[in-house]
Every structure is written in structure tokens, then in C-alpha cells.
Symmetry: C3
Subunit: 139 residues, 3 copies
Amino acid sequence: MSTYYTEILKKSNGNCDIINITEDVSEIVRESSIKNGIVTVFSIGSTTGITTLEFEPGLLKDVPAFMDKILPQFRNYHHNDTWGDGNGHSHLRSALTKTSLTVPFVNSEMTLGTWQQIIFIDFDNRNRTRRIAVQVIGD
Amino acid sequence: MSTYYTEILKKSNGNCDIINITEDVSEIVRESSIKNGIVTVFSIGSTTGITTLEFEPGLLKDVPAFMDKILPQFRNYHHNDTWGDGNGHSHLRSALTKTSLTVPFVNSEMTLGTWQQIIFIDFDNRNRTRRIAVQVIGD
Amino acid sequence: MSTYYTEILKKSNGNCDIINITEDVSEIVRESSIKNGIVTVFSIGSTTGITTLEFEPGLLKDVPAFMDKILPQFRNYHHNDTWGDGNGHSHLRSALTKTSLTVPFVNSEMTLGTWQQIIFIDFDNRNRTRRIAVQVIGD
């Protein structure tokens, strides 16, 4: 049994930018030389999210549209009174989507479905380079 | 420390079918012979979800009703323009619910509450046999 | 590789009480003497949730307001017909927020962002002492 830790860096545009990080995570699992175990993907930052999605152009419009419906950007959030940075919606979307995902792997391959991709979402209202922590554990 | 991997197969009716997989996961933890650790339950497929729920008839109606409210089946999703399979709502419900859950166990017993069950939900619009990946890690 | 298990006990007021458990989890990681790995935080109980949030007064009002909007307390839930305890909304909020979160750590420090805190939420409609399971795995 051993662990292998590294980070993924991604330039993000914010505003519900959805980035497919499946290949990055797959490469990390392979370079870890750990054959069987789990990989935890954790986005560092309280305005981000990690989940799975079929990465196709339609859903890349549908996810932001859904977020705009249940947590609109331009509404009065108490958070915006605290900091004045206008990203209350970003924090709530992150708490809802959550910032962690753990995926099993077998013979160095994650057990994802054919169209099931690991995505990072930046809910904040500005662009930035983002860090995603990846911890591999197994034997 | 060791790992133990297997899969659960379940026939599902789709359309927000909710299946209690707690006993399946409990059995896998016991047959792994690993005493203390964590078990990751991961549903393979981008129109599925894994979470915890008290498994009782009322909530088995309330969960689909809630999903119908926030992500109705019969609305225009861009995903449906891409593929024409009419399951845009299924993909969004899956991305929201997420497809992974990790549960600690101690002395071969998961640390679930008395009424806290592990459930698989099939959000797709058709029936199918589904695969759920289960990876046990510990010592 | 080894595992280290303990539980956090917290008095909660229920009704969307949000409790910052970051320092509790950090201490557990340090006392485990495990340097690199993952920690799984699991709230025991089907009316609770675990996620990450910037823990500031504005968001402590925004999260309950959001929950009241998408899953209001005083509506007819089938669950309430089953048990008559009036907490159908609590169960649905828990299934949505989920009761598990896994966070990587490196050199005994979790890879959280500067303002990213681990929170426990009690969605139930009464006060109680709550148990949160914490399993540390790594080497």
C-alpha cells in the first residue's frame, strides 16, 4: 500500500467554466504506479466544484443554465454584504456541488462509465489559475 | 493494509428508481476481511447517483417529486438537441447528486445511522442493468 | 499504511444549524500520526450533511435561505404522512447535500483553500448531540 499526491493546475475563466480533468486524473493514477485503489480529487477553493458529467456541448450550456435558475448571480446574498465581491452565488453553488470526488481504479484504470467524465467547475466571477489536489491510495 | 474490489449489479427501471444497496455494500465489506477502513461506492454511468436516505415509502415518493420540481423531465435541454434521447434531465440530476459516496467502517461495520441507508438512483429514462463499483481499503 | 478512527461529538440546535468542524478534523489528522493520505468525514444520521463553505456570517444566513427556497419546511412531504415528525424537508436536504466528504492531506495538513472550511449541517427540526465519524488512511 502507498500514497501518491500531486496537483493539477488549470486556467479558468470563472463564471461556471467547466473543465474536463479526466485525462489529467487518469495520467496521475498511471504515473503513481499504484494498481488498485481509490483516487480523491479535491478542488482547492470555496467557489469551486467537482462532479461527473458527460462532457458534450449541450450539457456545457445546461449546467450553467440550471445554476442560474436555482442560484442566480444577481440577487441579494448576505455574503455580498460581508465582502462586497458579488460572488455569494459562487459560494452557495460550491457548497451544493461540493469540492471532493473519490473514484475507484482497478489495474490503473478508473471505473468510469463510457461517457462519464470528471469535471472541475469554477463558480467564481473572475478568471484565475486553479489548483486541484489529487491523492491516490492503494496497492 | 489491503484493497478489495467488486461490483454490484442491479436491474433498474430508470425514471428515478431508488434502490437500497446498503446490505450489498455491508456484505462486500465483510467478505473483504478488512476490519477498519473506508468503502467507496461509485455508480458507473453519467445518469445515475449515489447518496444516503432513510429508505421508507414516503421519501421514495418525495425524492422523485423534488427532482421533478428542480429538474423537470419535459423541458428543453441543450443536451436533448445533441443526442435526441430526451434524457437531459437525467444527466443534470446525476451531476447534482453525484456518483460517489465514501463510508468509514470499524470492525467490519459501516458507521451508518440507524435509518441511514446507501441508495443508488437511476435518473435515466429507460430500464437497464446497472453496475456499481465498490472499492474497500483498510487494514 | 495505517488507519485511525475517531468520532466528533457536537451539540446542535437543528434547523439548519451550521457547525465548523475544520479544526476538529485537523486535530484528528495530526493526532493520527499519519503524514500523507485522505480523511473521510461522515455524518451519522439521515437528516444531516457535510460539505465545504467559507464560514462567515453572511453565508450562514444564505445557506438556510437557499434550503428554505428549494426544500421548504412547511410543505406536504409524503415522509411526514409516514412518521408524523414533520421533518421530510430535513431528509431531502440531507440526501441532496450528502453525508460524506473526503479530503486529502500532505505532511499532516489538509489541502483546503484559505477560506474553505469543513462544515456539518443539522437539517433536522430539533436539537441533539450529533456524532460525526472520521476515518484517516495513509502512511
